[in-house]
């Protein structure tokens, strides 16, 4: 009896958590007649790819896709390049100011970024950086930087220092020891850290909305999706197809990271 109640509750939780995404996918595959009906169908009897075709053919689709990809990838790479030495300094070296730096990273990690929309807009305007993708790259670089430093510090600290010491004994320079001993061991950590940075930047909406205002050609996918009613009107099939396509890369990243996600290692790091 208790078992049955428990499993029913679990099914309820599962249904609530999965249904919205299921409904998005299934709407994207339904023919329009089946969407415009009073009694919704919960299974696509006649699946169609029409809505995906509409979404892909929508004006600017490939531009927005390319913009999102370019901004996200460049921000993540920049964050990695800057975070790696900083994380090494925090994990392995002793220097005065280290404590202060760590505190700054933690403050930055919990910074209320949405309170900075107005000043960043003004600064970008003064610097003639509005409506330019590199501006978004810089913003996303800094928003993902704290998390990247914290995570990489953990990964570097997990590499036994003795390995590096041995390399130094054998006559390697410090940089060479890092490159040849620590870096290869860090590869999985770098991989998962950058993928989580990717998700954060891919999803970002508030700054893209505030900084990319005039030119259609500078928009990213979240901005495009937020204005779906201007693009698709009441074509919910195409709207859901567009949302599905937008979610696809993130889902792939999560599948790659599944083991790490369930281990809770990245706790607190990523959220839209």
């Amino acid at each position: 009896m208790k078992r049955v109640a428990l499993n029913l509750a679990a099914l309820g939780v599962l249904a609530v958590s999965v249904f919205p995404v299921y409904w998005m996918v299934i709407t994207a595959f339904k023919p329009t007649v089946d969407i415009l009906t009073e009694t919704p169908a919960f299974w696509p009897a006649r699946p169609t790819l029409d809505h995906f075709a509409t979404a892909v053919r929508a004006a600017g689709f490939w531009t927005f896709w390319r913009n999102s990809l370019a901004v996200t990838v460049s921000a993540v790479l920049l964050a990695l390049v800057v975070a790696l030495p900083a994380a090494f300094a925090v994990a392995r070296l002793r220097w005065s100011g280290r404590r202060g730096f760590v505190l700054m990273v933690f403050v930055a990690q919990t910074a209320p970024w949405s309170a900075l929309l107005v000043p960043v807009y003004i600064i970008a305007r003064d610097a003639d950086m509005l409506d330019r993708l590199p501006t978004l790259t810089l913003v996303y670089f800094v928003t993902t930087l704290p998390f990247t430093i914290v995570t990489l510090r953990g990964f570097i600290a997990a590499v036994p220092p003795e390995l590096e010491e041995a390399a130094l004994m054998d006559g390697c320079g410090r940089t060479e020891a890092f490159r040849r001993v620590v870096l290869p061991l860090l590869a999985p950590g770098l991989m998962s850290t950058s993928l989580f940075g990717f998700i954060t930047a891919w999803n970002e909406f508030a700054f893209a909305n505030a900084l990319m205002i005039k030119d259609q050609g500078d928009r990213t996918l979240p901005i495009w999706l937020s204005g779906f009613s201007n693009v698709f009107g009441t074509d919910w099939g195409a709207t859901m197809a567009a949302a599905t396509l937008f979610m696809l890369p993130v889902l792939l990243v999560f599948l790659v990271l599944q083991r790490r996600v369930s281990s809770g290692m990245i706790a607190g790091a990523v959220k839209g």
Binding site: L6, A10, V13, L14, S17, V18, P20, V21, W23, M24, T27, I35, T37, P40, P85, A86, R92, L93, W95, R98, R99, F101, V102, F106, A108, P112, A115, L116, L117, V118, P119, I122, I123, R125, D126, L138, F141, V142, R153, A157, E164, W202, N203, F205, A206, A210, P222, S226, W236, T244, M247, V250, V253, F254, V261, A267, G268, A269, K271, G272
Partner: protein, 315 residues
């Protein structure tokens, strides 16, 4: 997060003495230099600029021409003196409390349920959580607008089927209270997975012997939670609650994408309100003052958490 970091911090740092000290002294600063520069340019500077603007007369003219006059506390007086600001503050606290309480209650219940499930069911629920977590914010806002669509939305269909006939063609997004409720549902739906997975990870670290001992002593399930589970996981509960408070309090994307603070200002929380007055009224000075007050209020709410975090992680 706090725990892993506390652990890694406790490990003695490697000090490489192979090189002369004087030369090594500059190394760490060169390594963190770019990161510090990044934070300085895009976090500290905007924050400082925002505070300066909040003390200036800074509107459309100043934005275009540049240069702005010092205005003292005029913007703060204007914000604090009007009834609208306090309505927004009350709404923001209601928004934060409603979301965080519902998130924590549901997440705790689900996390406690997980270990009691069979292996397959547990895996299914956890995969569902990961799927929800992976849903991008803007995909989720679009989905919820479709779910709650007035004529074709599946929610109205279900409610009518269940006998609530007043929901036939009900336009959720025309009503302030209904939009607020949908936004709470959306943020809760998106936030629960993180809390569940983190709490569950914490639960698995509690040795089973403790539960057994409590049960032998005759403790009921509520007592086990109150006397064993909660006290052990108190730091984790504190951490998750604080993070949720930060995220919900400063939440912008969901609200802006669905309602832009409307209808009739019913969903304008502090970050949304600050952005509104800056963007549509060109009152950058007043918007900055509201932003500064927002950050101060958030700090006041979180002061306990921040003090603990600095103590634990400052090492």
């Amino acid at each position: 997060m706090a725990r892993t970091l506390a652990r890694t911090a406790a490990r003695p740092a490697l000090v490489i003495e192979a090189r002369p000290r004087r030369k090594g002294a500059l190394w760490p600063y060169l390594l963190v230099g770019p990161a510090v520069a990044g934070f300085a340019c895009l976090l500290v500077y905007p924050l400082a600029r925002s505070i300066v603007i909040s003390f200036q007369h800074f509107r459309l003219g100043e934005l275009i021409r540049g240069g702005a006059d010092f205005a003292g506390l005029a913007n703060y007086a204007e914000a604090l003196g009007g009834p609208e600001f306090w309505a927004v503050v009350r709404r923001t606290f209601l928004w934060t409390a409603a979301n965080v309480v519902v998130i924590m209650v549901i997440a705790t219940a689900v996390a406690l349920m997980l270990p009691r499930l069979g292996r397959r069911m547990r895996l299914a629920v956890m995969s569902g959580m990961v799927l929800t977590w992976a849903t991008p914010v803007l995909a989720a806002t679009t989905i919820f607008q479709w779910l709650f669509q007035s004529r074709l939305g599946v929610v109205n269909w279900l409610l009518v089927r269940l006998g609530f006939d007043s929901f036939r063609d009900y336009t959720w997004f025309a009503d302030g209270g209904a939009t607020f409720a949908i936004l709470v549902a959306l943020v809760v739906w998106q936030s629960v997975p993180f809390a569940v997975l983190t709490l569950y990870a914490g639960l698995t670290t509690i040795p089973g012997e403790l539960y057994e001992a409590a049960r032998i002593d005759g403790a009921g399930p509520w007592q086990v939670f109150g006397r064993v589970t909660f006290p052990i996981l108190r730091p984790l509960f504190g951490l998750i609650t604080s993070l949720e408070v930060i995220w919900v309090f400063t939440c912008f994307a969901q609200i802006w994408a669905i309602s832009k603070g409307g209808p009739g200002g019913a969903t304008a929380t502090l970050p949304v309100y600050a952005f509104q007055i800056a963007q549509s009224l060109h009152r950058y000075d007043l918007g900055s003052a509201v932003s500064t007050l927002t950050v101060l209020m958030l700090l006041a709410v979180l002061v306990v958490h921040l003090r603990r975090m600095f103590r634990e992680e400052g090492a």
